[in-house]
Amino acid sequence: MAEQILFTVFGILAVGSAICVITFKNPIHSALALVLTFFSLAGLFVSLGAYFVAAVQVIVYAGAIMVLFLFVIMLLNLGRLQTPRQISKAKVFAVILGIVLAAEAIYIGLKVYEGTAVSPAQRGSEVGAVITSEQLNQIAAIESAYRLDRSEINSDYVPQITSQKSNVDTLSADEADRLIKKLQGEMGNPDRIGTILFTKFLLPFEVTSLILLAALIGVIVLVKRETPNSAA
């Protein structure tokens, strides 16, 4: 229920402010609307249980990146460069193209959903007294994805579901469902994110630093002003 409220509020806010970004005439107003979009996306990440991503979204996007945008807009004094709005043929064509693209993307999204969703009927037939093999597989997948140990799950997470048991294998199917939900809820936990980032994704993480270094050098080269006596 809480998730539905969060999704509805922030979803409408995100789409509305995104439309404002592309319709406002003044670049500064567009930039502020984009900040609002980023905040509502952070809200959507919270509703998805990705708390750490939500925090980073606010700090990096709404903070650092948007400040950079506003800084450049004000540095170049772009507020005065507004062009009168005219509806050209190209704009009409662009909007039609956009509607077609949206239709296609939504169609693909629904197809993806069909591929991953387990129908309620299928799920209902599996709920029994004992944990099913599918649930065990799911828990095993979570273990490998989060670098968790079975003994850790037994000692830390199983007691949170039911106080009488301390072993995954003795859970009922219903309890196992709750355990899986609980474990998946831990996904946005900075602890888990950090563990995965520095084990499974260590090499990509290091390569990222090269991208940042390249960007740093590139910016200095691009913006450096050639002074007449610097050649000497």
């Binding site: 662009a94 956009g98 509607i99 999204g109 959903y113 913006v223």
Partner: protein, 99 residues
């Protein structure tokens, strides 16, 4: 909340970004629309990651954010130097490379 709603929302945000790139002539606004598209992709990553019970989706969002930050720094530097030479960032007037 089912995955499909998040994917539809992500598709809508991405499309708004695409339309913005196509209809606006201000290079900085076009840049903002690209950021919007990257964010729409991030939303899809996190939503699908949760559906599959895999945190890799969230890790990928970090990499997207890093690349976005690098891209913004470079892109704005290019815009600043173009503005120094041309006194404009209207992309209709910056068409020297037009084939």
């Amino acid at each position: 909340m089912a995955l499909q709603y998040y994917l539809i929302l992500s598709a809508l945000l991405f499309t708004i970004g695409v339309i913005g790139v196509l209809i606006r002539r201000n290079a900085i606004i076009i840049f903002m629309c690209i950021e919007l598209m990257l964010n729409a992709a991030n939303l899809a990553f996190v939503a699908i990651g949760r559906e599959l019970g895999d945190a890799s989706g969230q890790i990928f969002v970090f990499f997207v954010m890093t690349v976005a930050a690098a891209e913004v720094a470079i892109g704005l530097a290019i815009i600043v130097s173009v503005f120094r030479h041309r006194e404009t960032i209207n992309i209709d007037e910056i068409n020297t490379m037009k084939g």
